[in-house]
Subunit: 458 residues, 2 copies
């Protein structure tokens, strides 16, 4: 690995790739690259998640949908991943303040999002990657330096506290939102970058099983829309639910300072049914003990440096979680990268720029769509107009199945490019608005004629 060079090797032959990061995207990308015949070395800074005692709850439960499943399918992992623990969610279950619940389907019958446990999914993917003879995984191996002009990386082996230098033909950074590889790109390339925080943060809470069974309807994403607050809960295979509470960060801080009683009052006022579900003591203890996490969007372009390095997944485009597309988008990156490898016959000098150019605008569009869905989850799901438009969307899809596809369906149940999704959504919305306006005018005219006839009759 230290001696071969992309200049010496003809395109399309087996070459050496260093994958930085053994999270979800890193381990899946290792599978994709292994399928293409690359010699893959995967370096993960932390210890092996399969032997870790406790994997910190770094994220809201994952919603695996079409894009992610297509990626898994391409490396033959879809069935195994689902077998290892997935609870299908057919739609949202809206909890009103009075405790009444009402279901809103995500799409057509059979279209669902799979609620997944991050840890178990990561474990499955790592084991799958290791099953390839041309993949080697190294845990407790941390990237400490990357000299991208030379194509070298320095890795610290935390088991022995020794550093060593590698010169792979390609470095793929899958090291998440605080990516060290992205920082390295900044030093060498002209990387446009933006980070944007929400004033809201989130906190994880837990709804235990009731007599070993789900305490609410299992196959839904439960939503408590309480503008400006919101809470969601996703089912786990063991009958429990993971909750994520979204509040303005200062609200979290304020309640924490004022203590348990205020916390309880807050929940009783805004989420009364959740108090029963979580349990009073568990709720207040968790709230005081747990950390409120920040929510940030990251956009970046390009994703690569020459033919040497590229970043994918959260390292390239971290997004807030309101569309459940973070992982799906990262998995789809693997497909797009694989297609670019095919298209340019493995010539990295062409593959990497093409990947950046194709993928970056799509990921940016998805980052923005997330913010729209946050609004929807906080308040719109409560509005009659929103519901009317949702039903109208489905009616129009039934009428024109190829020409009118609801936004959520395009994002979650298709592989239409995210950028194209936004363009189509805007176009569809315009058409629907004009149609509604036309119908309103028509009804005024008809009413007028009716009244006129009535007047004539007098």
């Amino acid at each position: 690995m230290t001696t071969s060079s992309s200049n010496e090797a003809p395109p399309n032959c087996a070459r050496h790739v260093a994958v930085i990061g053994g999270g979800l995207v890193g381990s899946l990308q290792a599978c994709f690259l292994a399928e293409k015949g690359f010699e893959v070395e995967l370096f993960e800074a932390k210890e092996d998640i399969r032997t870790r005692k406790y994997a910190s709850g770094r994220s809201i439960n994952l919603g695996l949908s079409h894009r992610g499943r297509e990626a898994l399918k391409l490396v033959g992992l879809e069935d195994e991943v689902i077998r290892n623990g997935a609870v299908p969610m057919h739609g949202r279950m809206i909890h009103s303040l009075s405790g009444k619940t009402s279901a809103q389907a995500y799409g057509k019958k059979g279209q669902n999002v799979l609620s997944m446990d991050r840890r178990r999914l990561n474990e499955t993917l790592l084991t799958a990657a290791e099953s390839y003879p041309n993949v080697k995984t190294h845990f407790r191996h941390k990237l400490v330096q990357a000299e991208l002009d030379k194509g070298t990386i320095v890795i610290l082996d935390r088991n022995t506290d020794r550093e060593f230098t590698l010169r792979p033909d390609l470095i793929v950074g899958c090291d998440g939102v605080n990516s060290a590889m992205r920082a390295a790109l900044f030093e060498y390339g002209l990387i446009n970058y933006s980070q944007e925080y929400l004033t809201h943060g989130y906190m994880e809470l837990h709804i235990p099983a009731k007599d070993g069974k789900f305490a609410m309807e299992a196959n839904y994403l439960h939503v408590w829309p309480r503008e400006p607050f919101t809470m969601i809960a996703t089912p786990n295979p063991d009958g429990t639910f993971n909750c994520a509470l979204f509040l303005p960060l200062e609200e979290f801080a304020d309640i924490k300072i004022r203590g348990r009683q205020v916390c309880l009052e807050f929940f009783r006022e805004h989420f009364p049914d959740a108090v029963t579900l979580i349990g009073e003591q568990e709720l207040t203890e968790s709230f005081i003990a747990n950390r409120a996490c920040k929510l940030m969007s990251i956009k970046c372009s390009p994703y690569h440096y020459k033919d040497k390095a590229v970043i994918i997944g959260d390292a390239a485009h971290a997004m807030v979680p309101f569309y459940g597309q973070g992982m799906n988008c990262g998995f789809e990156d693997c497909i797009v990268f694989s297609e670019a490898l095919d298209k340019f016959d493995g010539d990295l000098a062409k593959v990497l720029p093409a990947f950046s150019e194709y993928r970056s605008p799509d990921a940016q569009a998805m980052c923005d769509l997330n913010l729209y869905n946050f609004k929807e989850m906080r308040s719109l799901v409560n509005s009659r107009w929103f519901l009317f438009r949702k039903y109208l969307d489905w009616f129009l899809q039934w009428l024109f199945p190829k020409r009118h596809i609801p936004l959520y369906t395009m994002v979650t149940f298709s592989r239409i490019r995210y950028g194209e999704v936004v363009r189509r959504w805007k176009r569809q919305t315009k058409i629907v608005n004009w149609t509604l306006f036309g119908m309103a005018c028509l009804s005024v005219v008809v009413t007028g004629i009716f009244i006129r006839r009535f007047v004539n009759l007098e």
Copy 2:
């Protein structure tokens, strides 16, 4: 300095401030804070510029204009700064490809931009800061850590290689585009941030004096607009000019690789008169030896963390140099900060958020305006329509001196807030466009009437 705390000290009493960075904005900010009675310690990572042998040419010559001069005036430094070396520029001198030159005034008679030498200006400001008994300067003192929640900073004294910790009441980061203080803010606050590169870079070149005198008209900013290239030259008090050549970065790289002859041919083709002015040998030698620098805009918000720390100048809003506002905007930051101190009676918990909220949108507006002026400098100054609009602007200003102020005048010769400048400019452009459209319609009607009468006469 290590023991006092902002909580113990009543507002408005003398408190301790650490200024990080002894560049232009840092040394001026030290003067402003000294005037307010703060005990100021200024830490500069490099050695004292007054004793440095060679200060690397880090920037295009500086254009000091109204905003910067107002700031200097407030601490009694305007006259001294100008006396120490400033060449007034009354406007742009456009160099056509044929070598013909034509002048375009910046504004009204007497309105000019002062071409300043960065090093001399920095020296004057540092000496001025040191003349306050309540300012202490420390050179070769580098910020290595900032724990903003505790309000502490760790400084490395590079003279002794020892670190020490301070706990000032306020930390002001004036440490430029690669600000370590901004990086510290990222760790503690929710900082929205964007960086955007131009595909163009720049290179500094030099036009020597001719027989001890200026080789071109002294009192102008010379511009060679050659879309997509451009070159500018600004006068120095010693009769020389500093040039900045702007090319796409890949063009720089390409010419450098292809060597001196190609370089010379490039200049002969696009900047023939500059070849004579710079000298063939000097030109090619410099081009091959000099570095092409990148151009980046940085936007960021907020600028502060609680009542502990704030960033100003390039650390908060680096901008590309096409409006000559980088320094002026940084100097104006000092005024705005000083006014916020007055308004909130020195209560830092109010001053810092107010400063961020007031200043950040203005600096962002100025970052964007710079990009517009780059377009103007590359091509628009060559267009007849642009010139017509410029004269029309001046005519309208003469007619409505308070209601119509040309964009360049608002930016350069006023203290109208940058955000307001952009709004007024857009409004004025709309009015002018509609007026021109109206006049065009009117002339069509008049011509029609005229033709009709002519037809009737037949």
